[in-house]
Amino acid sequence: MSDVPAGLETLDFSFSGGQPAGAFAPVLVGVVGSGNLEVMLEPAAGKGCAVRVETSARGFGPIWQAVMNDFHARHPLAGLRVSINDMGATPAVVSLRLDQAVAEITGGRP
């Protein structure tokens, strides 16, 4: 038996020092399905980037931290709220969804 308790795991991350994302309509990409996830980006007050992850794959906090560090390095955005519902997506899929979501708010501009 696994010693990891059943249920969802909630992970929070925050980053500072990015460029303002500005005003935009909330965007949603991806679907909560096996090996997939949904990512919602919303504008937020303040100068930070707050990330909340709800995931059914427990015990991968350090990997999420690394994936989100990479995300913030690629897209150093401030005034941003990132909300994720995950059903066991791999790090590569998570990174692609995050990039897709940012592309939606920037209208395809890098």
Binding site: L8, P26, L28, V32, G33, M40, E54, S83, N85, M87
Partner: protein, 293 residues
């Protein structure tokens, strides 16, 4: 040509409706989510697997809902069902030209048990209220998960059903039939059998759907536009006509000997389709031309 089956619910809304016209109610940012799934350790979706709102279709005002089959098989949970019911009830007040339901669902979301079952029954009642008010309800079926269980019943309560050949419509899904009646009765892994008995071509030939289209978003759009004005009054006479059709179908086949035979092709033959065994190989256009009535 863009595959309807391969689109997500939100992609379908973006491509099927007039460009940029969809206005969503209870969008994901409102976080109106399932109160049940988290307790079971199952991730929720911000929209509970369905997007509802208003839009225009060929310039006419419509209300629309799109189910996301990739989230829990499009299963109808408490919130998901309540969004559909709210859309229908608002249609009674605002009287759009039609209500469109882009259905893709395995039926009740079993995780939510009675709440899901009640939700589906409420959707049926709300849909029939909309029909009774003379507002046509159009159901579009072409997603990979098909339209099954309670949503199969909901679809058949509507005025008009548009299906693609890859779309499927039934009450019990293939795995359910196999589990309850055995693999001899129905082999759920026999994909050709599954499509012969639930697929769009079959539904078209038996009269269970009103339009058969290619797996193409533009074809679904054109069929929906053509059907907007087609309200079918839900009267005792219409119900009796439906019962007569079903009785005729029930007796079209000899059901005493059912060993090793292709019942779908036999039924099509009994319905007057020549060379019925060829139906699965035919193009959508050719199958469309086979229906006589």
């Amino acid at each position: 040509m863009i595959s309807y089956a391969e689109c997500s619910a939100r992609e379908r809304l973006a491509l099927l409706l007039d460009a940029g016209s969809f206005h969503e109610w209870l969008p994901p940012s409102e976080r109106v989510m399932s109160p049940h799934l988290a307790q079971l350790g199952v991730p929720s979706a911000f929209d509970d697997g369905v997007a509802v709102g208003r839009a225009t279709l060929d310039g006419r005002s419509v209300f629309v809902a799109a189910q996301e089959g990739a989230f829990m098989g499009g299963g109808v949970g408490e919130v998901h069902g309540a969004k559909l019911v709210g859309l229908m009830q608002r249609a009674l007040r605002d009287r759009p030209a039609a209500v469109l339901l882009l259905a893709e669902s395995g039926g009740v979301r079993l995780h939510e048990a009675n709440a899901g079952l009640i939700a589906v029954s409420e959707v049926m009642r709300a849909l029939l209220d909309v029909r009774a008010a003379g507002i046509p309800v159009l159901v579009l079926i072409g997603g990979a998960n098909g339209c099954f269980g309670g949503m199969g019943i909901v679809a058949r309560c509507a005025d008009h059903i548009v299906m693609s050949d890859v779309g499927r419509l039934a009450m019990s899904g293939p795995e359910v039939i196999e589990a309850s009646h055995g693999v001899d009765e129905f082999d759920s892994r026999d994909r050709a059998l599954v499509w012969r008995t639930t697929g769009g071509k079959h539904r078209w030939l038996t009269g269970d759907c009103d339009a058969l289209v290619e797996d193409d978003v533009a074809a679904f759009r054109a069929a929906a536009i053509a059907a907007i004005g087609e309200s079918k009054p839900f009267t005792p006479a219409a119900l009796e006509q439906e019962h007569a059709l079903l009785t005729k179908r029930l007796h079209a086949l000899d059901t005493t000997d059912t060993t090793d035979r292709d019942e779908a092709a036999l039924l099509w033959s009994a319905l007057g389709i020549a060379d019925a065994r060829q139906v699965p190989e035919l193009s959508v256009e050719a199958v469309r031309a086979l229906r006589t009535a």
